[in-house]
């Protein structure tokens, strides 16, 4: 995956996160090169998984501590993103 497509995809995701995205321009960018959608999809899949598991990652760290002896656990802030959409 070209580095510049990944960097651009990260900027689009940041714009979406901060509600400053121009959705028409984003659509045009996705359409302009198949590599763009592929790069964005990779970023978006990880982003959504992290977002949905943000609270569980906190719980996961507790599990990790118990299972594999992690000691450097930091509690995560509560996840306002638990609603489905």
């Amino acid at each position: 995956m070209p580095e510049d497509a990944i960097l651009a995809a990260l900027r689009w995701q940041d714009a979406i996160d901060t509600d400053r995205v121009d959705w028409s321009a984003f659509t045009a960018w996705l359409e302009s090169d198949p590599a763009h959608n592929q790069a964005y999809d990779e970023i978006a899949q990880i982003d959504r998984l992290l977002r949905q598991r943000r609270r569980a990652i906190g719980a996961g760290t507790a599990v990790a501590r118990k299972i594999v002896g992690h000691r450097n656990h930091r509690p995560c802030p509560s996840d306002a993103g638990s609603s489905r959409y």
Binding site: L7, D19, T27, I46, R51, I57, A59, G60, N72
Partner: protein, 203 residues
């Protein structure tokens, strides 16, 4: 904080319950074009746009601050979730239902409960997998990823906090995302060879 979580509703005092429907009708063709660009499939795009309609039909009539963005975000999340559900079904053979729910509902039937317990276990495994992957990131990339994705700061806010350029934030994020992608692909998220079972056991 400037972060908006995957279509979180911004409740205002305006009584604009039907605004989403009005906006939906106005931008339906744009939504369809977006869903097509994201999913790469005409029929899938139609399904997604139809699902957006069904979802706003069934939701509580609360006004949202930016209906256009809300609808695009919803369509985008549906593309992501459908793709991920497909990967899970293909690679794991298990049934995946509502896997965004973080808590079990005590009113569920026992069979639903068993499925939800399984889903909850998988979510814990995913969390542990992600936690471990994040811990293994190079320190700069790990710090930026935590601030941006776990604590919810924007690129600009992370740059300010760490006193680095936005471009440096993006480069750290690119390293982090590439690494996480590789780990997740190894576990079936993205067409890799996920064998099912304990996600945390494989390294």
């Amino acid at each position: 904080m400037g972060i908006h979580f995957g279509g979180t509703m911004h409740v205002t005092t305006k009584p604009a319950a039907d605004e989403l429907h009005v906006v939906y009708s106005r931008i339906r063709s744009e939504l369809l074009r977006f869903a097509r660009a994201r999913s790469g499939d005409d029929a899938e795009a139609e399904d997604i746009v139809q699902d957006v309609w069904l979802r706003i039909e069934s939701r509580e009539p609360l006004p949202v601050e930016n209906p256009r963005s809300y609808l695009f975000r919803m369509a985008n999340n549906m593309v992501i979730d459908r793709q991920r559900d497909r990967w899970r079904r293909q690679t794991n053979g298990r049934l995946w239902r509502d896997w965004t729910t973080d808590f079990l509902d005590p009113a569920l039937e026992p069979s639903d409960r068993a499925r939800d317990i399984e889903t909850t276990l998988i979510m814990q495994e995913e969390a542990l997998l992600l936690h471990r992957a994040i811990e293994r990131l190079p320190s700069g990339a790990g710090r930026v990823l935590r601030l941006h994705k776990i604590e919810g700061f924007s690129h600009a806010e992370v740059a300010l906090q760490l006193n680095i350029s936005r471009s440096a934030v993006e480069k750290h994020m690119a390293v982090a995302m590439r690494y996480l992608r590789r780990i997740l692909a190894d576990h079936g998220y993205g067409g890799g060879g996920y064998c099912g079972g304990d996600l945390t056991r494989r390294r």
